[in-house]
């Protein structure tokens, strides 16, 4: 499986609102690509453009080099969960997968297998209207996987899942990655994304503000901060400032937050000044990098004009 997603100068305009502006990126096979952005940044629109639900104003959204409608059985190439509203509330879970299996030219027995895979075997005969948000999320995933697709696109797949459910989903996505599939997912749960994604595409106000490996993104957008606990914060503050660091603040009576120096440097400064350290950690995470990258672009709005 070597299918990839590629957006090439993708632009979508709804009347005066520019929802996606000249977006270009690639989601590679065998990797999980996180798609991050504030509300209204254009994440869902971009996903809809890949899936052929919306038509681009200009540019291309290509699935393994072709538009989705150019594949004879698209469900074998790409499966997507855009919404938990995925089945008629009066239809049973198993029947909701069966009709989709027909469109994916899949074996009808595939429906049972998939419900088992997403943990819904026990409720296969129940109407979807009785399902919790987490159960609907699992059902939506079963429907997306009905064609055993090479590419999986998921919009906020962790919404409604409990911690066990999130762990299960992360393990499943890890399996997909190991199988060489292309996984492209958006989520607001940045802490969950941090240890899951290999690559990142970050969008803000309809434009890409960063794309590439997750680690490179974090390093690019976040200046690391060091938190240190010691017996003499005043003396350490002065020493760190003298060494070129900047003290961001003092928390309580013993904790300092500093920037501009590494944890190793803080340790050496403390040793040289005979200050006892109780705790020392360097923080560099996706949440902070995301905030730094998107900056003041987090308002729910599209670009007008």
């Amino acid at each position: 499986m070597k299918a990839m997603l590629r957006a090439d100068g993708l632009t979508k305009r709804y009347g005066p609102v520019l929802a996606v502006s000249n977006v270009s990126f690639t989601a590679r096979p065998g990797a999980i690509t996180g798609f991050l952005g504030p509300n209204g940044a254009g994440k869902s629109t971009t996903m809809r453009l890949f899936l052929g639900l919306d038509k681009p104003t200009s540019g291309q959204a290509l699935i393994d080099g072709k538009r989705i409608d150019e594949w004879p059985i698209p469900a074998r190439k790409i499966g997507a969960v855009l919404d938990t509203q995925c089945a008629h509330p009066s239809r049973t879970a198993i029947d909701s997968v069966r009709w989709a299996a027909k469109l994916a030219a899949a074996d009808q027995g595939q429906a049972e297998t998939l419900l088992d895979r997403v943990g819904l075997t026990e409720v296969a005969g129940q109407r979807v209207g009785r399902f919790s948000l987490g159960m609907r999320q699992r059902l939506a995933l079963a429907i997306a996987l009905v064609g055993n697709p090479e590419i999986v696109v998921l919009d906020e797949p962790m919404n409604g899942l409990d911690p066990d459910g999130i762990a299960w989903l992360k393990a499943l996505l890890g399996q997909f990655r190991d199988q060489g599939r292309t996984i492209f997912l958006s989520s607001h749960l940045l802490a969950e994304m941090e240890d899951l994604v290999d690559d990142l595409v970050v969008i803000a106000q309809s434009k890409i503000v960063g794309a590439g490996s997750a680690q490179a993104f974090i390093q690019r957008f976040q200046t690391s901060a060091v938190t240190v606990e010691c017996d003499n914060p005043e003396a350490l503050s002065a020493a760190i400032s003298k060494a070129g660091g900047r003290v961001l603040g003092v928390v309580g009576t013993q904790r300092l937050q500093v920037t501009g120096v590494t944890a190793v440097m803080v340790g050496e400064i403390a040793r040289d000044n005979r200050i006892a350290i109780f705790g020392l950690r360097e923080e560099r995470n996706l949440q902070k990098a995301f905030t730094q990258a998107t900056g003041d672009k987090s308002a729910i709005r599209g670009e007008v004009g």
């Binding site: 698209p74 089945a87 027909k102 469109l103």
Partner: protein, 244 residues
Amino acid sequence: MTFASLWSAEIIKFRTLRSYLITVITAIVLAGVIAAGIGTGIDAQGNIPTLGTSIQAVAFPMEVVIYAMVVLGVLIATGDLRSGTFRITAVMAPWPRQVLVAKFTAAAVIAFGVGVVSTLLAYVGGLLTGGSGYSPLSGDGTLVVLTTLVAVPLATILGTAFGLLLRNTAAAISLLLVWGLGIEAIFAYIVPPEVVAFLPFKTVGAAVANLPLGPLPGLGMFTLYVAIATGLAIFVYERRDLGT
């Protein structure tokens, strides 16, 4: 992807929803019961007071079936749209025209089956209570029955098209039923029969037997109205963004 796959998926969607099956069964049972009720009013000359000849013992119940199938058509469309099923279908089969044609065709085939069973039940219902004057197939009777039989699936397609265009169950059903049962009925009193005969729901069913257009031209007009609505739905969906 073959058309057969699209069509099969639509049939699975239909038969796995109880509300659709209830609509179908209700329509069939109503046809028999209404026919039996009308049959009791048939006199020795084969006439029914206020309705016309005994053809109405079959045509009138079938008109009820036509309206029931209009409602079914709306439900088939809006049920898919409301539940997200239509969007998933559009991702798995990103060819709106083929998907809609499969949907229209599946709805029509189901409705045709309903029409055949309903017609038989209506005929038998009238026969059970109609007595010696019961002769629904005399005169234009056979033609009226046959054109009504064709009108039933067309009515379902019409309902589906309106459901797709309005994207709202209540709005689509209200519009179609208020037009068919209300506005056309009012027109029947205020405009000449030659004009009334061209109103969509007067071109087929019970009204045909009493209006000047006749069964076959009436069916032709009804087909034209359905074709316009269907064509418009396909035109709109080929251009509409489906994700929003």
